[in-house]
Subunit: 359 residues, 4 copies
């Protein structure tokens, strides 16, 4: 029942150009530990893509990318401000704490997984400044957020300004970077370092790779320790081509942007379709490749019986005044580069049938 699988953007393998690049890179001898020419080429490509000098460190998982990035930006007794439902707080089993040797993630509230500049400023300014208290050292945002929203450029700039003024590093978790980027229609540079981002987890896995994430470091001061941190955490692949080759296929001919556009379009189609059903309303607007909807419980149950696969979701980030009723559920449906229009339509058809049945 793959057809109705909207559980996650990691249930599919790699997209064709990525797997082909991997197979092509498999032949022949290459230096180990990332000393290969593909990695060198890729580093230049990232510099061109982001229109700046930067450091590129490849790893296989988003958790590793986030945890390594945060560890470079935090002392073991530092605080990192982020949304209270962010992935780094909720879904990495303490990886940031492990890699940073004890730093603390401070969760701020915010609608739709977004934190806002004034709230960040207030939280930091409220902290006592005594050696008994952990000092704020970093801010981290997810682009797109855990609720599928996309920070506008001025929102990013606003947070960056608050961070800069207080001497904090600014990290962006870009597990769904491409989906956010094509939604905003701006360049990678505009969404990152030109708005003050110091270090970025650039995700590939959810958008077409099998396992490939890049830590892109814009701030020179954050580059010093990354390679040793990567090695001692076991994330330096001896056959480094596995990661670099995936990214070559991913970036070639704007394949990654095409993948993201497709996933977003499928999400839009799904959101429109669901929104037209009686009793269904969006939890948050659909801005990337995830649809969050509040459904009648009966509809949810029958959809599942029809074979649909997706996850229930937390309601903690709903806008003020919005709530999930006792006979409702909040659910997340995720589309990806591999989601077919026919699947979306099949789900909608099932929903319509079921919805009618509910009525």
């Amino acid at each position: 029942m793959n057809e109705l699988n909207f559980a996650s953007d990691n249930v599919m393998g790699a997209s064709a150009p990525v797997i082909e690049a991997l197979v092509a890179a498999n032949a022949g001898a290459l230096p180990a530990y990332g000393g290969d020419e593909i990695t060198a080429r890729l580093t230049k490509r990232f510099a061109a893509l982001f229109e700046c000098e930067l450091d590129v460190v490849l790893v296989a998982t988003g958790t590793a990318a986030n945890a390594l990035a945060l560890a470079t930006a935090l002392s073991p007794w530092g605080l990192c401000l982020c949304h209270s439902e962010s992935h780094v707080i909720d879904d990495e089993c303490g990886a940031p704490e492990f890699f940073s040797h004890g730093a603390k993630l401070v969760g701020l509230p915010g609608v739709g997984g977004k934190i806002e500049a004034p709230a960040v400023a207030a939280a930091v300014d409220r902290l006592p400044r005594h050696e008994k208290q952990m000092p704020a050292e970093c801010v981290s945002i997810s682009q797109a957020t855990e609720s599928g929203l996309v920070y506008r450029l001025d929102e990013i700039a606003g947070i960056s300004e608050v961070a800069r003024a207080r001497g904090l590093w600014f990290h962006m978790d870009g597990a769904r970077f491409a989906n956010a980027l094509v939604r905003l229609g701006c360049s990678p540079a505009e969404m990152t370092w030109r708005r003050g981002v110091d270090i970025l987890s650039f995700g590939g896995t959810k958008n077409g790779c099998l396992a490939a994430e890049a830590i892109l470091v814009f701030a020179p001061e954050l580059r010093k320790t990354l390679r040793q941190r990567r090695k001692r955490s076991g994330h330096t692949l001896s056959k480094g081509r596995l990661l670099s080759a995936q990214f070559e296929g991913y970036l070639e001919a704007d394949h990654w942007l095409a993948n993201a556009r497709h996933a977003n379009a499928m999400a839009d189609r799904l959101a429109r379709g669901l929104g037209a059903l009686p009793g269904v309303r969006p939890a948050w607007p659909t801005e990337a490749n995830e649809v969050f909807a509040i459904l009648p419980r009966a509809l949810d149950e029958r959809l599942r019986r029809a074979g649909a696969s997706y996850h229930p979701w937390s309601d903690l980030s709903l806008a003020a005044g919005e709530a999930v009723g006792p006979e409702e559920v909040l659910v997340r449906l995720v589309t990806s580069f591999a989601t077919e229009e026919t699947s979306v339509d099949a789900l909608l058809a099932a929903a319509r049938t079921e919805s009618g049945a509910t009525a």
Copy 2:
């Protein structure tokens, strides 16, 4: 100049059956985070292969496998005894210390990278037992060793006995497990848990995979924390099939054993050829897929000029009485599943020419 590349067994990509299995597994939706059916199948396969009930935890690097395995077997203030030149001490940038939160690896001397049961016993028994001192909790050996030697079954059993009697866990770093296994001609069970091994880093990467290692846990007490340790260290792949599929290709039809036999045969051929040259002698016998030789410096220099690639090596594990002379160098040449007989012969031909030139 791939032809004369004997630098490492990680300079090549994956062998054909492995990459084909990966490509085959790429299609379609599968549950994430190792919940896929390929992983489930693989776990059963490992149980059958090792003839026992065991836990299988997959990761992408040998450093991760070793560090996770040791961390499960050590408290943060525990000691692990191993050879003073072991990979876990010398080549993982402190990963075992990181994953274990500060445990200490105690290096014991020993010819050819081997530790011996009486030396382990003596080292443990000499330790004071006061709360000021870190207690011994684990012994770790490499099979094959960093000097290319293979522990005999009775040697493994002897160390295990010492460990068991003192309440220590017994870990085997099997980065070159297959090469050792085919040399001994025994079963995986005989070389591991039947000789008292509690936890094994089962390597795939050096012998035909791109990036695939398995932690195989025989001792039930060591299984409890592994999955959380893996996740918080960023080693749980969301698209788990990447690892499980490689291993399916690797294990299918004894492909892994064939790879290892080939690599060992190439090493034997190389060792024989080098041994016949004037002024060349083995540093240690060739028992797996690595050849360690003491060469005249002039021969070494000219071989390199001829395009040969290999590493100089430490002489700390030489047998008593053996030494590298002032005009000699100790070098390591590694063969792999991908090494062709013509490459070996080309190197030997170059060596013979050069050797003659030296004389």
Copy 3:
């Protein structure tokens, strides 16, 4: 201007019986590292005092006591639930995270620094149970709380029940244990293990010692690693008598209870006096040795000019409906064993004068 010093209960040295016991214990040779007879005697005394078999581990600071206690009750990836303004979260510069190697303290809201059993249950039950999420493993409360409140026995039992049912350890931070105890008028056993407390930070420093805290371990499973954790964190004093002697003086002839009763009585007197002033109201009831009051800003400023010393305080734990007005401040005044009635009366006199002046 010591006379008006209400800044903290750690601005004074030791009370007379404590410093005398320390001087008396100074003479003569004694075994090092806590192997002395005073420590042995003290351990028995604690067992008698708490009417149970227990383990006693002495350290010099409350931060060490809390961090060591929590580290024994948490895996490095575990969650500890406690009040969002608790000392372990806010005032120890990340010590619990350091000692536990990365465990996370989850702050729950609650009036007056108290967490409530149903809120703890709801927070734990809401957590997903996947290897991506840190599991709840411990609950910690402060007795008295950071807002000077005292948990009733049934409140402690209620939290303990919630913890026990979910397999969580239950820790009590007793930095002001004595002050809470004499307020409740119960026995140490009744306020701790008879209500399900597994491990207790028993404070001495704030109530008459110079630097002496005891970790009292009721749950046998939590005893195994404490001494090694203490040593490796540098908290095992070579001249252990420093700590044990202070505690002997502290416990002798119920000196500790007398100290606490005095401090509480002074707090009551202060609270009554302040409460009678126009424009002054309690932030929370005075239940231990701390008075939290909301004062007119003008009064606060002039009191300080009169030489009074005390700290402003956070309003995050105020009851619903209560708030600090724009012309008000929330302050904390702390009394101790050393606070003299004349000091309280002097402060009140100054306040009355100033209060009159304000009007």
Copy 4:
């Protein structure tokens, strides 16, 4: 049987001026957490004593001082070179590894607990410089050593030169700083920063304090994180006067030097007396307040029966050619500020009697 107690220099309490200073400082209110005037005064005093600007951080144990000092000088993946039998390796239950989050102490051999500049240079220069290997970052020596020897000024300078040239920090464990200093007859500055020491653990506990150690930081770069490291490790005393007052008594009127001179004189007397006995020879020369002797086993056994208390010791640091025979034992006898001449003579008398009895 205190009279014959030569077990350690931490079996006695504080010397009279120290305990008196502590009692004197006990009265009255003082700011908490080291903000008191005694600490401020002490900091100036240390600056005058060491003739330089420096940072002073007080803690209660030598383990804390060493571990904090090393943690400031090491990244979590750094190597620290020191003697293989140094206290930081053998007697602190992994505190340096804990505080540094995984750094590794590399033990070098050397007679009498001393490491030598050329050996340090060779060890560092032999290390590969790849991201797979932990880089050397620090050298640590004990003054006096664990075998009771004192580094000469030129030896310290030589190690410092090696360290400086390789970018390594230089730490001195001065648990017996005073004993070494009075033996050399030089100034504190000459034995430390004028010979390149960057950070010093200045011990007070073994030489007359109850529990007082100072981390003295000469290198400005090493000062940044110490206070936060101290707080998060639970070593910031709320009643900071406990530590500062001890040190005031300790340093006043050169009391500390008098204590050390006495202890050394007692050791000399003991060494001379033992050396005159048949079958007894020194393991290493007596240079501080410890006597290491090789005794006939029979003498040792009877001395113990006579009530003498002292520890057997390791023979790993004996000079080449020296060895403990099968009927011999290597023992350590420690003198202190509190050791009386009559005790030394009583032990010698007992030894002489016993020695005669053995013959």
